[in-house]
């Protein structure tokens, strides 16, 4: 069994998303593909620093670079983000289901408590 495998796709996605600059890059890319130069403009960062972030995003499959020789625009790849979202959603679902059941249990407990210990007798 492999535990916390760092190169599994979801771990890579979450690690890539953990950085605010990378999230900002993804938000920018959500508007459409751009070149690395265009991408670097709004960030107070050197090109090598941006490239480094892009490499992490690319490795996680979150962005792709076109083979178009000159411009090589960067493009957002939505699938891994959707997978990460789905994953978090299923964890939420686990608790939604449990807590929905707890609502019913509490109602029953509350009723039982009030039956057994009437506070106000008339």
């Amino acid at each position: 069994m492999v535990i916390y495998m760092t190169d599994d796709p979801l771990s890579a996605t979450f690690a890539a998303l953990a950085d605010p600059t990378r999230r900002a890059i993804l938000l920018r890319l959500a508007e459409g593909e751009v070149t690395v130069t265009e991408l670097a403009e709004p960030f107070a960062m050197s090109m090598p620093a941006i490239s480094k972030h892009l490499k992490v995003l690319e490795k996680a499959g979150l962005v792709s670079r076109s083979r178009d020789a000159q411009r090589r625009p960067v493009r957002l790849e939505a699938a891994p983000i959707e997978e990460a979202n789905a994953w978090t959603e299923r964890y939420r679902q686990f608790w939604d289901e449990s807590y929905d059941a707890l609502d019913g249990v509490l109602a029953t407990l509350h009723q039982a408590t009030h039956r057994n210990t009437p506070k106000e007798q008339r």
């Binding site: 916390y4 964890y91 939420r92 509490l106």
Partner: protein, 166 residues
């Protein structure tokens, strides 16, 4: 997606990630902290709601409710596979707060600390929050994954079937 009629009060679970190593699960309940505490720390009651998957059996529900005491939940599916969650109580302040360790037994090394608070939500109900603190981001994300794998077995209609029988 279909919306099923249910016995819930419409409250939703909130997941938040305050940092790379934290995860908070919160939810409001219509009843006071004393009752939520009782339902969360009494084995016969926990068995009625915690992580119930259809057709799974809740085979072990041990809660030794004292500081240093341990707790353990084990589920068995139709194929006889067992899944266990367990830990130890570090702090207890009924009905306000408990701190315990928790691990998903198939993943040794998944142990982390959970601080559960039962707060009066000002409307006669309780805000229940479980704050999970992990040693690393990898552990947190691995934990969410393991919760997902277990939670995936749960279908929607089962719980509402169980409730009227309680």
């Amino acid at each position: 997606m279909t919306t099923q009629p249910s016995t819930t009060n419409g409250n939703k679970v909130t997941l938040s990630f305050p940092s790379d190593t934290e995860l908070v699960v919160s939810r409001d309940f219509a009843y006071p902290p004393e009752l939520v505490w009782q339902a969360s720390t009494t084995p016969e009651i926990v068995k009625q709601w915690w992580g119930i998957a259809p057709r799974d059996q809740f085979v072990v529900c041990d809660i030794d409710l004292r500081v240093g005491g341990s707790w353990r939940y084990v589920f068995r599916d139709e194929q006889g596979n067992e899944d266990g969650f367990s830990g130890r109580f570090l702090e207890l302040d009924a009905p306000h707060r408990s701190v315990q360790t928790e691990q998903y037994e198939p993943m040794p090394g998944s142990e982390h600390t959970v601080t559960v608070t039962y707060e009066d939500n000002g409307q006669g109900g309780t805000r229940l929050s479980s704050h999970h603190q992990y040693a690393s981001q990898e552990m947190r994300d691995g934990h969410v994954a393991s919760g997902m794998e277990y939670g995936m077995n749960i279908t929607f209609d089962h719980l509402d079937d169980v409730l009227p029988t309680l």
